[in-house]
Amino acid sequence: MGLNGGYSGFRILREGLSGNRGWRPAWRDPSPQPAYDFVIVGGGGHGLATAYYLASQFGEASVAVLEKGWIGGGNVGRNTTIIRSNYLLDGNQPFYEFSLKLWEGLEQDFNYNAMVSQRGVYNVYHSDAQRDAYRRRGNAMILHGADAELLDAAQLRAECPFLNFDNARLPVMGALVQRRGGTVRHDAVAWGYARGADRRGVDIIQNCEVTGFRIQNGRCTGVETSRGFIAARKVGCAVAGSSSRVMQAAGMRLPIESHVLQAFVSEGLKPIIPGVITYGGGHFYISQSDKGGLVFGGDIDMYNSYAQRGNLPVVEDVCEGGMTLMPMIGRARMVRMWGGIMDMSMDGSPIIDRTHIDGLYFNGGWCYGGFKATPASGWCFAHLLATDTPHETATAYRMDRFERGYMIDEKGSGAQPNQH
């Protein structure tokens, strides 16, 4: 990458002085080639990251990303933008910590301002038992090389004085905080990976829907698309939300249900919320965007859905959680709400694995933890595609773990996808 096409402060100055006539589209709009070494199905965060790391880390030159609509139009543009690695279980924590480390170096790596903001993630606790559970989780995080800090009520009050500390039913007793967690400008993640991949020779092909897989003698040799057949040595699917629908074309049934998760944004306000705050008495999480809007969400709607919108009972439930935790937001007006479709897996953890069909690989089951996982998911999927071995942080994300009894059930709620 020369200075010419790169983004920098100097470039902004130079373009500003010359009427901003030197900017070019951030990625090409190529027509599909007849064949590639690697075809990635799905131009969301995970698919674009996979292509980017295939090119940048594994030296693969012949890569295409196929996207049904436009890139970044799915869940990477519909989430609450939170990054963190506050997981308990061995199968999860190293992976999410790897992801957080990648987030920390991402903008320099792909030369794009993704507004990574490590403003801290606070998990509020409301009882002695919950404090002990959070302390245990914090210790697990530290043992895996992440950071964690347990705050008592006085320490938390100094940082978040607006919380409802004296609630009679669920008093705020403190929080587990991960200072390195925070938020990222989600669309910029898709655009940054797309631009970085494109500059390394990846073909990003939009408006190209995969309609089937060509499978001969147990081997996937390419994909049928709305723009014709495209041959591939290896095909990787990263289409979380639609995984069941896409993999059905390869004759597979998955341990996944699709559910709708809603998110909300208020009108813009002056800075009032310092980091990401999650409620321990219900399901509610909130942060404040750089534009000032309160960005928040809660539970999924609990029923199977492919509609990118939810129903009112969950809206009320989320807002009640917010009002219980921080009554001050009651005066803010909600301006937007939307839904995204989640791959809810049977144990609440993702899958990055080969399938029983040679040459066909699967990445999905992200439940509602997919955004923070984007860099590590892309890296690990690229590792698997390029080397046919799992990355060391993703060895537990096997497709067959359900049959073999090696679930990664962070919540301990069993094979009930709507409970994760």
Binding site: S244, R245, R253, E257, Y303, Y306, N311, P313, E403
Partner: protein
Amino acid sequence: MIIDHPLLGPRDSQEFVLLGDASLLNRPDWQAGNAGHAFYEYQYLRDNPAGAHRELWYHEMGDRSWLIVTRDTVTHEVLKVELAADVAAGMASGRRAK
């Protein structure tokens, strides 16, 4: 969503909890030779269609009945509501007839 309960008439979906795909009614034979694999498929794998989906709903805040609701997962339209007990009885008599 409004679920038209066969006994109680139209009720708000808020009164119900969802268990999941109605295929959970088809419990495999635990004595069969392939029971381990059959129970894995029964417990963990789902069709997860976009469109009509038969699912088990429990009327927790109502009469505690189990319903089989056929619902469109793309539009959220409720297409058909049956008592799960009736469906299960029908399945059992179907098995006896065989």
